[in-house]
Structure formats: C-alpha cells, structure tokens
C-alpha cells in the first residue's frame, strides 16, 4: 500500500471519530463512545497486511479496525446511531458491533475477552487447512486479564495461527499502563515461547511490515505471535473523559507524534502540493455523506427487540 492510501484511510477514520464525538455531544448517539483518535495507523497498517479470509477481532475502541477492514462508513454510523443498520440492526452499538461479512468478527467490550474467540477462529482456519490467520487487537491494560494468558498459552501449545496486536496507548482508562503492568506486552511473549515484536504504532508502513512478517511467520511455523504497537490516545478514554489525570505536557507531546500530521508531512515531501489537502477533503466528504446516508436508515422495530436470540424461536 502506498503512503497516500494509508493517509486516506487514516484521515477517514479520524474524521469518522470526530464526527462520532460530535454525535455523542449532540446526543444523536446515545451513551458514550471510545475513540481511536491517535491510534489510526495501527488498524490501517495491520489490515493492509491481511487477506480477506483472515479473521479480525477488535475492542470497544474498534471503529478504526472496522473501517480498515472495509466496513462501509454509513453502516457503522447507522449502527452507532441505534438504527436498523445492515450490520447489527442497532443491537451492537458503538462498542460491540460485528461485521463478519467484511472479515471483522466484531468488537468486544469485555477487556481481553476477544482473544479466546480469536483463538477459535484460528483453530477453525487451521483445521480447514486454509492459509489464513486470526488477528485480534487488545489494549495494554488488557494484558492483565486471565483469559489473555490462558489463550496465549493454549494457542502456543495447540499451534494456532493467531496474531495478537497489543495497542499500547499508555493508559488503561485513567491509570497509566506503567502502574498496572509489570512487564511490557512484547516481553511477555517469551512466557509462551512466542515471537514478540515492538513497532512504532504511529507509522502505518512499519505496522504493515511487521504484521506482514509476523503473519507469514505464524503460518510458516504454526506458532502464534504478538506485536506491541506503541501509540498515544489523543482523546479521553471515552467521549466524556476530560483527562484531568494526564500530567502537564504529556498530551502536547503526544500530539507532536500525531500519526496523521506526521504522515502528512512525509507525503508533502514527495507528493505534489495539495495531495494531503485533497485527501483530507475526500475523507471529510466521505464521512459526511455516510452520516447523511446513516440518518436515512430507519430505527429498528421495537417488536424485534427479542427476535433471533435462538436459532428457532421455540417458545
């Protein structure tokens, strides 16, 4: 993928997230959302290295992964607006939406809980003899959930084609990662005999390269792998978080490393003037058009609230 293409996607995610924030503030989205502003390069870089048959699982901070996986913006917006979206008809919402048709098995709003499911997706791909992997993203804080440990060990002994991407944004909610996690994620890989790598999560090309290499390695060796991507959360944990807990200067420094600004600068070095501005504009237009479309999706029928809990409604 070319830098310009990364840029286009990252901009789209950024604009999407900004619009989502506005929709929460105007109460058009009910409740709160968790934005990936500052972390866009990770899903964009990672998904550039994946194939259609790969399974991807994210967290509640997963809009970027859905977009990078190709889920239409309008469907995402509609789902978040509580409409009868083509994704989950309003059942999932911002933190728990699923789009399997796009190779995105879904978000998960229980910290770390997507990993076991990803191992299962990997097991199926292995038994089906395919050349596909399962990729799951979790946060730095999630590394301390029991299910994560259980799954990494089990995936190692069963030899599953599983790639864990840990997005280390320095915080778990309002507490710094360093206060919660004894050892960084990529160093923990050794505890399972796995390859663990570290990458600059604000550089989409570097992420893509690392994911491509680990994906190949996972398929070649039959062993899972772990990639820790360093990044910053440039906004609150959720839409209502004022971030009073961040030490002075920290956010300003993080903004210096904003992956979008950085990539824009890089592109401007080589590309024609206006390339970046055109991409920005295209992203904005796409997002606004998608939002318009989403707003035209009707609300779900309340009579459907308990439909489809079981395969056959036997009662």
């Amino acid at each position: 993928m070319e830098l310009a293409a990364y840029y286009q996607q990252m901009c789209t995610i950024r604009r999407f997230e900004e619009e989502a924030m506005a929709l929460v503030q105007s109460r058009e989205i009910a409740g709160s959302v968790h934005l990936c502003i500052g972390q866009e390069a990770i899903p964009v870089g990672a998904c550039a290295a994946l194939e259609a048959g790969d399974a991807v699982i994210g967290t509640y901070r997963g809009h970027g992964w859905a977009i990078a996986r190709g889920v239409p913006l309008a469907e995402l917006f509609a789902e978040m607006l509580g409409r009868a979206s083509a994704l989950n008809a309003g059942r999932g919402g911002s933190p728990y939406l699923m789009a399997p048709r796009y190779g995105f098995l879904g978000e998960n709003s229980i910290v770390g809980a997507g990993l076991p499911m990803a191992a299962g997706a990997a097991l199926a791909r292995k038994l089906q003899g395919g050349r596909a992997v399962a990729v799951v993203s979790i946060g730095d804080g999630a590394m301390n959930q029991g299910a994560v440990h259980e799954t990494l060990n089990m995936a190692a002994v069963l030899g599953l084609p599983l790639l864990l991407v840990v997005e280390n944004n320095g915080y778990a909610e309002m507490t710094p990662a360093t206060a919660l996690t004894a050892v960084p994620a990529h160093e923990r890989a050794a505890a399972y005999g796995l390859r663990g790598e570290l990458v600059d999560g604000n550089d989409p090309a570097a992420v893509a390269q690392a994911v491509r290499a680990l994906r190949a390695d996972v398929l070649a060796t039959g062993r899972p792998a772990l990639l820790e991507a360093m990044t910053h959360r440039l906004v609150g944990h959720y839409s209502g978080d004022a971030q009073a807990y961040r030490p002075p200067g920290e956010l300003a420094a993080a903004r210096q490393a904003d992956p979008i600004t950085r990539l824009a600068a890089l592109i401007s070095e080589t590309e024609a003037d206006g390339t970046v501005a055109a991409a920005d504009e295209a992203a904005r237009a796409d997002v606004l058009a998608a939002l318009d479309l989403a707003r035209s999706v009707p609300f779900p029928d309340p009579a459907d609230a308990t439909n489809g809990i079981y395969a056959e409604e036997l009662r």
Binding site: M98, P116, M117, G120, L127, G308, L314
Partner: protein
C-alpha cells in the same frame, strides 16, 4: 429400532461418537479428553478414532470456551467438556457475555453452534468446590439452552440434540448417575432441543424434577404408591426451552404441585416452575405448591452432613406424602 443397554456415561460416549461421525466439522475439546480418554471416560476411544478432532487442552476453561465460540462462528461444531460444573465459574464471562450474545447481536450472521458438557452434583466425600448443582445460573441467561439428563436414554438423545442444534447448549450431566444403566435406542431419529417427558402418570399430585433428582423422585413415588398415593412424575429435561405443557396439564388434573431438584432451594429453578404454574393456572391449585431441594448451604464433604443437606428419596417421600395429605383449600373442596 432396537434398544441397547448402556450406562449413562457410555450413552454420552456413543452420542459423541455419533456426532464426530455425522458432522465432519464436529470437534471435541477439554481437559484429558483425548489421549487419556476422558476423566470419566466420556471420550473413550474418540481420539483413537478421530485423531486431531479430539483435543487435550490446558487447564484454561475461559480459553477453552472462547476458542469453541470462535471455532463455531468459523464453521466448526465444537463440543467442550468442562470436568465439573463448579469449574464453569472460571469461564462465566465467556459463556454469558460472549457465547450468549453472539447470535442475537450479530443478527444470526455468527452462529454459536457449540455444546458445553459438564457434570455436577454431590457424591459422598466430594467437597464444596466439586458438588454444586448450578443449572439455575445458566437458565437465567437468555441465549443459552440448558438441559439435564436423568438417565442413559436422555443422556444420549439430549446430547445428540444439542450437538445437532445451531444454538449454544449447556448440558449438566450427573456424575452420580454415570454408572446407571438404561435402554438406549442408538439409531433413533435425532430429537430437537426441548421437550419434557411425563415419566409416570398419576392422579393425586404432580411432581416435576430434572437431572440427578429424578431417580430419587421415582423411588419415592413407588414407595408412595404402596400407600395409595398416585403421583404423576414429569422429567423436565430442558430448562431452556421450557416445556411446561405436560406440567400444566397434570396440575390441572391433580391440583397439587411439587418441584424437586438437587440444587439449593433459594433462587433455584424450582422457583421459576412454581412461579410459572402459579401465574398461569394458580386458580387450579388445591393447596400451595412445594419445593423440595437442598437446604441453602455450602456442600460439606462429610457424607453425614451432605446427606442432611441434600434431598434424598426419604425426604422426598415424606414431603410428597405431606403434600398429598394436605387438606384442599375450602374453596376447591366446595367446588369439588
């Protein structure tokens, strides 16, 4: 159709074998299920026959159930063995927050086609962490199917139904009943998930039960019959979906209801049965319904203590006798 005599655990084993033969996408996973042939022998011979489709896992129940879910939504048909129901508790998030939500939230695009088998109940000496009867916790969770077989025939039929089903099914087998033999029709048609069974007809009282308590209820019933009390016995088999029809029909006839389960009383599924019957046909009850269950306590290891806690056929018999003997409310007496 010919019936074969099998123990409960052998019936489970046959159902698993049938599943692996019938569904190429079926897999079995759990602790010690492959090479060691299963801690209770449920998976005996399966690894030898089906190889890598039968998988020994680490002692990691959350990973196990989540893996089954991910495999299921990717086209496999996993059957997970959790050695004791008590160990489900280390994997509750995966069962309740993950498995139970998947179909509904995905609008049916992801199909959590998986079966979780476990066994439960107290046996002499089993400690407080290996003795609980936990079905009520799961019967409260929409999205899960929950069944308890009380004999070899049901163990076979219900497990085949569960594995063939597109829903996530939890089966609570009874360790105490594993050695008990019964007639099993191995080539019967595959049942659907659901369906209670009226195992004895009767005119005086209606007794509803499931799982490990059913044999005790049947023993109590036979003993009561000698005293001229005629008890209808309904084996509920499935708590979800709940088939209340035979219960309502019988209660309309007898006017007296007892529910018997091994789980402790408060918050047990017996409360749901009593509540539903009362809401639906409360006016038909000649006397208040009764629940016969373990006392609300932790299960002690000493058999002297656990026997005092658990409902046994003796206690069941005397409580049923009391129910049958209780004078009907004025009003029913009047209307009779």
């Amino acid at each position: 159709m010919t019936a074969t005599e099998l123990s409960y655990i052998r019936a489970v084993n046959e159902a698993l074998k049938w599943s692996l033969e019938t569904f190429p996408e079926a897999i079995v996973l759990g602790e010690d299920v492959a090479l060691p042939n299963g801690p209770f022998g449920a998976t005996k011979g399966l690894h030898a026959q089906f190889g890598d489709r039968v998988i020994d896992t680490p002692i990691s129940e959350s990973a196990m159930i989540g893996t089954a879910l991910g495999a299921a939504v990717s086209g496999l048909r996993p059957v997970v063995e959790i050695m004791y129901a008590d160990f489900l508790l280390v994997a509750m998030d995966q069962i309740v927050n993950q498995v139970a939500n998947t179909r509904y939230v995905s609008g049916g695009e992801l199909v959590p086609r998986l079966t979780i088998r476990t066994q439960q109940g107290a046996t002499p000496g089993s400690c407080a962490q290996h003795s609980q009867s936990l079905e009520a916790l799961f019967a409260h969770v929409p999205g899960l199917r929950v069944g308890l077989a009380s004999d070899a025939a049901s163990a076979y039929a219900m497990l085949r139904a569960a594995i063939a089903s597109d829903d996530p099914v939890m089966l609570f087998e009874s360790r105490r009943l594993y050695p008990v033999k019964g007639q099993v029709e191995l080539d019967a048609p595959v049942e659907d998930v659901g369906g209670a069974r009226a195992v004895r007809t009767g005119d005086d009282i209606t007794v509803v039960s499931w799982g490990s308590a059913v044999p005790d209820v049947l023993a109590a019933r036979d003993s009561l019959a000698a005293d001229g009390v005629s008890a209808a016995v309904i084996d509920l088999r499935w708590l979800s979906p709940l088939d209340l029809r035979p219960v309502l029909e019988s209660v309309e006839h007898t006017g007296r209801l007892a529910v018997v389960h091994e789980a402790n009383r408060t918050g047990g599924f017996g409360a749901e049965v009593v509540a539903r019957v009362t809401e639906t046909i409360g006016r038909e009850l000649a006397v208040p319904p009764v629940r016969i269950a373990a006392a609300d306590g932790r299960v002690p290891a000493s058999p002297v203590l656990s026997q005092a806690l658990l409902p046994g056929s003796g206690r069941i018999r005397s409580e049923l006798a009391a129910l049958a003997a209780r004078p009907a409310r004025n009003t029913r007496a009047l209307s009779a």
